[in-house]
Amino acid sequence: MFAAPLLQEATGIGALGVDLNSLIVYLINFGALALLLYFFAYKRVMRVLDERSTRIRESLEQADRVREQSVEAQASMQRALNEGREAGQAVLSEAREAAERYREQQAEQARTEAGAMLERARDEIRQERDAALEQVRAEFAGLAVTAAERIIHRSLDADAHRDLIDEVLAERESAGGGG
């Protein structure tokens, strides 16, 4: 069985060992190998490669979409930010104007109130002065009566004296310019 005769007994091209049986076996062997590799290797691996390629393509497309969305969102955010900033500026400027108006209004009101208070104070002072003058006048009349009584040592009717004094004072005031 395990003998080892050399096959190249022939001469010429036959010495190379061309053998139809071996040739057929090699052909069948290659065909079987190609077929088995096709079903157990090529088909599986190529399917996986295709699937991976599809996944990668989809992922890249998705990434592009996300990037575009992100850019859009960023632009939208920037727009909203600008609008907000502008609105803020407007509100701020309006608030400033309102504050200015309020300040002026308050200042005006304070000025008005201060004027009114001043006027009231003047009225009160005037009234106080008039009252004081009235009081002084009354006291002076009594004092004059008392003084006259002492000087002339006689009793006079008090009402008559007072009328007399008032008359004198009125004359004097009119003569002195209301001092």
Partner: protein
């Protein structure tokens, strides 16, 4: 002292082996007047018979082809068994090879024909390359049977199938049939017009030349692969005979390269011929890629 010399040990080992190889090899033996360490190799162009089954002779190259087939099926079948979307190392390596081969094929003939051609062309590359690379294993030149009375291996159990002319011839026939079938499939009867031209005598002669050029591919394919594989084997045997150690390593590396290159050439030429066959006649310079 020993620690200082330790890094130089590999260099010393290599140098020692090289010197020993030179001394033990045929060159050193001739110079020193000794018998060479390895006996003079014999070159058998034809494969050797290992055993017979029902009158069919099983040769060492045929065994080698079967072994390569089994190994290739195990590697590629098991490696792509799970075929997961996230590949493991083995699947990754297989994918890398398939992608490289498919990219090469697609680059020449385009997507449509690339898909169709891939299984046959990839099998050609894988079988030729693995067959050549496996033949570099030490088991190939050492394990075998001794003839009665011989004190050395007279019949090797395994021998690179590429060195058996029947394998390159079988691959050449497959390549030829593949090209012609695809040419006919793509162009129908228009493909035959390339060979059978009757407009004038010169055109007729061109047709005959075309037939001859297609048939001659069988011879060129066969002897290119056969010659390279046999030459590689002979070089390895002879260099081992002459210098025994170290020097053969360089030639082993060269043979690894040669195996891959020959596989690529076989596949590449078949691909180019197939492309020429499927491309519409006269459009070779216009449309270089199939749709």
């Amino acid at each position: 002292m020993i620690r200082a010399l330790l890094p130089k040990l590999p260099i010393a080992l290599v140098a020692g082996l090289a010197v020993a190889g030179l001394a033990l090899g045929a060159i050193g033996a001739a110079l020193l007047g000794n018998e060479p360490f390895i006996r003079v190799p014999e070159v058998h162009l034809a494969p050797q018979e290992v055993f017979t089954i029902g009158g069919f002779t099983v040769t060492n190259t045929l065994l080698s082809a079967w072994l390569t087939t089994v190994v290739v099926l195990l590697i590629f079948g098991l490696g792509s068994r799970k075929a997961a979307l996230v590949p493991g190392r083995m699947q990754g390596a297989i994918e890398m090879l398939f992608e490289a081969l498919y990219g090469f094929i697609k680059g020449v003939v385009g997507e449509r024909y690339g898909r169709a051609f891939f299984p046959i062309l990839a099998t050609m590359f894988i079988f030729v390359a693995f067959n050549a690379w496996m033949a570099l294993l030490p088991i190939y030149p050492t394990v075998g049977f001794k003839a009665d009375g011989a004190d050395y291996v007279t019949t090797h159990l395994l021998r690179s199938a590429g060195t058996d002319i029947n394998l390159p011839l079988a691959l050449a026939i497959i390549s030829f049939v593949f090209v012609e079938v695809w040419g006919f499939k793509a162009q129908r009867f228009g493909y035959l017009k390339e060979f059978f031209r009757f407009r004038n005598p010169i055109d007729f002669f061109v047709g005959v030349l075309e037939i001859v050029s297609h048939l001659i591919r069988l011879v060129s394919f066969t002897f290119r692969l056969f010659g390279n594989m046999v030459a590689g084997e002979i070089i390895l045997v002879m260099i081992t005979f002459l210098l025994v150690f170290m020097a053969p390593i360089a030639f082993y590396l060269l043979e690894i390269l040669v195996g891959g290159v020959q596989a690529l050439i076989f596949m590449g030429l078949t691909l180019v011929f197939a492309f020429m066959a499927v491309a519409p006649h006269g459009a070779d310079h216009e449309e270089t890629h199939a749709p």
